[in-house]
Subunit: 335 residues, 2 copies
């Protein structure tokens, strides 16, 4: 489907679900962006879920989002259960403004929802020449080290840096693979890799459905578990949002709003060494890229390069949409 | 050896190496603390190395450490090649002051050296009721994803949070296993696990000796590699210190000062939800601790609890020192 046609269709669907024109456009653009970077698990496959939560009034279609200024570096946002895209979009703009003023910005967001990829927001800060951290929590998917039950979300750590070229954007879940990838595999009857998840009996599985009812494994055992705990504290406890396994699964828990929390930290990279920062980061990347390659590698990519490549490759192509999702979209449009 | 006698001996050694009384005391206290938490690889085993670098004038015994105030949140420290303990001790105090004033503090330190455990500094901020990140770079030990040669250090991510009880302090390297474990396996002719290191030809190895001359692997492949790269950028590039594999190995590279960089970020946890923060973090820990335990676990510990337990267990005991190190100390004292 042509990108502009798809965009109109998504906007139309959100408008029918009572989102404002501006909010519908924000959501459409982020969903399409996920498709363009081939993060299909965060794209159209979630449209039906967002709409269902809006219809059930678990996502507030007409949120009154409040921004409280703590001081010139720090802001606190009450998202009023808005769709995550919208509150995070407002939040990152505020974090950018704050760091531009003082060199460092901190923005906490409470009562939000799933916001797609953290890299969407990191990229905006990097394009404004800032270093950025984005943290968000998510529904239970990972067992804390020593436990046999999921509690942490896949809790991504996202970190972005301007390079003078393609943004350096690390966006890594603390699980071996993203939950979205498992959901996508389940939806389309595909297997997941060995070594990333246990079934509910604690045995390794490559069956996506079994993995979803079991638990995912963290990177590096207790290390990844600790990192996931850190993200739960930063995005959940600190911001006054859900934490400790209380973030609701957007796909199958309709008992209330998700109450996801986000935390953005922005830093002006010139704060210590001025313009030399760009010179040094270029040198850093150059030194690493010229290392001798491991077997099977022809080049060393920094985080963000692959997504940027995919985006450029796909940006002028039609977006292919599985029949199942086309049907969902038609149904949503007929509501 | 009794703790107070050991402390006097270490101070004596540093005084003989022309450190000031105050700096000698700071170094002695951190070295003893490493012994008490059983992080022996960061304790007395390094004393000889520090002293050798001082004698070779690669560590400056009389540094003129300059603190530049960028604004009320941000400070920049030129450590003048001081021993890492001293500049990091000054740096974390400054980061604490800044966050107490504005809610968020950022301190970059350049021209520093190995500073022991990141958790030493995180703990100080947590005891002043602050959330804290500590980043430092280190000499090459890890291959970037796609490379077959080491470039990143084991680059720890350290994160601390007040809990109202024992500080939550995550202090995790981004490598699959600690280098100390590989050294131990080599010493006792044991194999190391598959998947943690490559030999010098870039092939996976379980032979400890081959691993030491090869490269260690990061947690979660490209994920851990990205995290190590993030730490290199934050502590090296941003602060104007060494980066991109240029941090000198303190044990065997005497061609110049290490030029290690550190970055501390401090946050007042009450900034968004006030006093509720402590209530919520306690709830968070309670929820996680009461999860059903995995096989082989009788309890779930949060990061920092084990080190705290060891510290308390050892704090009133004599410190056992291997003969080899006692001899080194005698030699250092005779200089």
């Amino acid at each position: 489907m042509k990108k502009n046609i798809l965009r109109s269709k998504i906007i139309q669907i959100f408008l029918k679900h009572k989102l404002s024109k501006k909010h519908s456009e924000i959501c459409a653009d982020y969903l399409i962006k996920a498709e363009l970077v081939e993060a299909k698990s965060h794209g159209l496959t979630r449209l039906n879920m967002y709409c269902e939560r809006i219809r059930r009034k678990l996502i507030n279609a007409k949120p009154k989002i409040k921004i409280k200024k703590i001081n010139s570096s720090i802001s606190y946002i009450d998202a009023d259960n808005s769709i995550g895209f919208v509150s995070a979009d407002i939040g990152i703009s505020q974090a950018i403004k704050n760091a531009k003023k003082t060199g460092i910005g901190l923005v906490g967001i409470k009562r939000s929802g799933h916001y797609g990829l953290s890299s969407f927001y990191a990229e905006q800060a990097v394009k404004k020449n800032l270093i950025v951290f984005c943290f968000t929590n998510a529904p239970p998917a990972l067992a804390p080290h020593g436990a046999k039950k999921s509690l942490f979300g896949t809790n991504p750590i996202c970190f972005g840096v301007p390079t003078g070229k393609v943004p350096f954007i690390l966006d890594t879940s603390t699980s071996m693979i993203n939950r979205g990838k498992i959901r996508h595999a389940e939806k389309f009857g595909k297997k997941i890799p060995f070594g990333v998840a246990l079934n509910k009996y604690g045995k390794m599985t490559t069956n996506a459905k079994e993995a979803l009812s079991g638990t995912q494994l963290p990177i590096g055992g207790f290390k990844g578990s600790g990192l996931a705990w850190m993200v739960d504290i930063l995005s959940g406890v600190l911001t006054g949002s859900s934490h400790g396994g209380k973030t609701k699964d957007p796909f199958d828990d309709f008992t209330g709003p998700q109450n996801v929390g986000h935390l953005f930290i922005t830093i002006n990279p010139k704060v210590f060494i001025g313009k030399n920062f760009i010179k040094e980061i270029k040198k850093n990347i150059r030194l690493i890229k010229k290392l001798p390659k491991a077997k099977g590698f022809s080049s060393i990519l920094y985080p963000g390069e692959r997504k940027n490549f995919l985006y450029k490759k796909n940006m002028n192509k039609d977006i292919s949409i599985p029949k199942k999702i086309l049907k969902e979209m038609d149904d949503l449009n007929a509501i």
